[in-house]
Amino acid sequence: MSDFAQTLITAIAIGSLYALIALGYTMVYGILKFINFAHSDIVVLGAWGSYSLSVRILPALGYGLKEVPPVWVALMILLLAMIFCGAIGFTIERLAYRPLRRAPRLNVLITAIGVSLLLQNVGQLSFVFGASPQDMPPLLSDRALATFSFGEGESARQLVIGMVDVVIFATATSLMLIMQYLVFHTKLGVAMRAVSFNTDTAALMGIPVDRVVSFTFVLGSMLAAAAGFLIVMKYPSISQPAHTIWVLLGLKAFVAAVIGGIGNVRGAVLGGFVIAFVEQFGAFYVSSNYRDVYVFTLLILILLVKPSGLLGSTLREKV
């Protein structure tokens, strides 16, 4: 029972991370109809950006790299990382994707792969982030917020609800609520949905399409940066920027977006949790060696059975 609950807690924390990243994929796909392969690299930038910011800011403020600074420092680093990634996302869209607005989707996809490779390998350069893993200084103390005990004697188990898991879930949820508000209750959100529905008509209605697209990229990149920040909170040893683990993370988040129904904001959140549950419970109850295999198998199954995803609406293809 406690094993189940512990896995559940991890799955919820990881799921909210996947959901955050999946939101970026789904928004870009909804508007521009292509997979932003570089999105996972924005997450990497968020993670590594938080790292470089903390190793610079913490000593400057008089805190050691081993001690836990006050909460506002962590918040400031999160905000700075989000702004930084937002700017990068804006630049990428402006330079690489906007000139291809009318090009076939395959070309944009290839460009996205190019941008992804570029970000990865620039990040690996010795004067950027370097090609070796680093340890994130602790910004939050991972103390147990609540501990439950189960069973007696030999079979006694403890269920621990850790600070970091709660922070991840809380941060991710509040960001998603802000997103929800932005997309469904503001004028900008209406514009985004209009562009996603039909770009040409939206432009005819006086919606500044380019600006909306830019805004979408900035928003997605900021969420990705937050996800990157939260990931290094949970797993403080950061792999190098071109490590497979990042690409896999991005792929799983994309799978989450597809499973939820790509282009659908709520679907991405749902998909994120579904993926995390499949992955965590599969890893715990079947075999942790195949955790990536579960996710991709689920993707292939979903695509074969209901290609539009769980919450997606089927669109007939017109000539």
């Binding site: 989707r105 070309n107 190019g114 490779l117 799978v255 991709f296 695509l303």
Partner: protein, 387 residues
């Protein structure tokens, strides 16, 4: 769907125009079609005997790798370039073929000759075992290609890319979970079913100690066959159907092209050659490891097809040569290699999205220019209409 409809059918027109000449040549006499293969095998023989063995000369090794890479790039071009299905799991097929071939020669030569060292001389019994293992690798990879090709019937563009990427990753993870190699002949003879689950393929350390049968003769013979098959395919009715699928699926379907069949055929053919190339690769370095199936390897071949021109066999061949030799020349700038590749990809898409040669072959480019000069630009050249 907002596919580029501007180029509907132009590729088809181009392909059919050029295929007429090829068809006449083939129909003239059934045997003339074999001439290019004979020439290629002759060249391979000359290369094999004139140059030092790959174990002794670094340059020969590079030449050998170039040959294998061309096979991979040209085969990927059948899916990505001609049929327009974006596959980024090509290294997965290569790994499937490589592992199959490696296990056949490794365990086969243990059972047959008692050791895993090379057996027999040029075209000796060992060589035939090796050739058979490569073909078997190709066949197994082709079956995998069939399985991966099936989702392409329902998915397109980016979705398919993700599925192929996922396929490569699944292969990688599964290979990592295989058991350790059986290195002892006696142990192999008395092996039970229990030791075969999971199959002894070396796990995450990779499959090592494969006898190094690959030489320039085999690489360039197989390369010749690949090139000839790819070119024949491109100028055949099957190839034209594939190109029509790439240009516009709906229009192709309306014209009676069996889209499903063309897509799956493309995947199967491409996977077969990738599998054979995987066998060559495994027997040239003596090792294959799970990371060879990863998408970073696949990207290399994707870049080659994109740069060379999606659909152009000679263009992709040139790109494969260029992108294999370039890092050798830039050894000191290794960390900038992928940055350069990435920039090349982005700039290529912005400036010349159809690749260096588009769908055309090198020699056609010259013909076109001459014809253009004669007719002073009055005929509408297909290449002018980019995708």
């Amino acid at each position: 769907m907002t596919r580029g409809t501007s180029s509907v059918g132009t590729g088809v027109v181009a392909a059919s125009a050029k295929s007429e000449a090829a068809e006449v040549a083939v129909k003239g006499n059934g045997w003339t079609g074999l001439i290019p293969i004979a020439i290629g095998i002759l060249i391979a023989l000359v290369l094999h005997f004139a140059l030092p063995a790959p174990q002794r000369s670094y340059n020969t090794q590079i030449l050998q790798i170039i040959g294998i890479v061309i096979v991979l790039a040209v085969s990927l071009n059948i899916v990505n370039g001609m049929t327009g299905q974006f596959s980024i799991g090509h290294a997965g097929f290569m790994a499937v073929g490589g592992y199959t071939a490696a296990s056949i020669t490794y365990y086969g030569s243990m059972l047959l000759w008692g050791s895993t060292t090379k057996h027999g001389g040029f075209l000796g019994s060992g060589d035939w075992l090796f050739l058979g293992s490569c073909l078997a690798g190709g066949l197994v990879a082709a079956i995998a290609g069939y399985v991966v090709g099936l989702p392409s019937l329902r998915l397109r563009g980016d979705y398919l890319a993700i599925v192929t990427l996922g396929f490569g990753e699944i292969i990688r993870v599964v290979l990592q979970q295989t058991g350790p190699l059986i290195e002892d002949v006696e142990a192999l003879r008395s092996v039970g079913l229990k030791q075969l689950v999971p199959p002894p393929l070396g796990g995450s350390l990779g499959f090592s100690g494969i006898p190094k049968y690959t030489n320039l003769f085999w690489v360039y013979s197989i390369l010749t066959i690949t090139l000839v098959v790819a070119y024949r395919l491109k100028s055949s009715s099957a190839g034209r159907s594939m190109i029509s699928v790439r240009e516009d699926e709906i229009a192709a379907q309306a014209m009676g092209v069996n889209i499903a069949r063309q897509k799956v055929t493309a995947f199967v053919v491409a996977a077969f050659f990738a599998g054979v190339a995987g066998g060559l690769f495994a027997h040239s370095t003596g090792t294959v490891s799970p990371k060879d199936a990863g998408f970073q390897q696949s990207f290399d071949y994707v870049i080659m097809t994109v740069l060379g021109g999606r659909g152009s066999i000679s263009g992709v061949t040139l790109a494969a040569i260029f992108l294999t030799v370039l890092p050798e020349l830039l050894r000191d700038f290794e960390q900038y290699r992928l940055i350069v590749y990435a920039l090349l990809l982005i700039i290529m898409m912005l400036v010349r999205p159809q690749g260096l040669l588009g769908i055309h072959e090198v020699w056609e480019m010259f013909n076109r220019r001459r014809r253009k000069a004669e007719t002073s630009g009055s005929d509408v050249s297909p290449a002018e209409v980019g995708p």
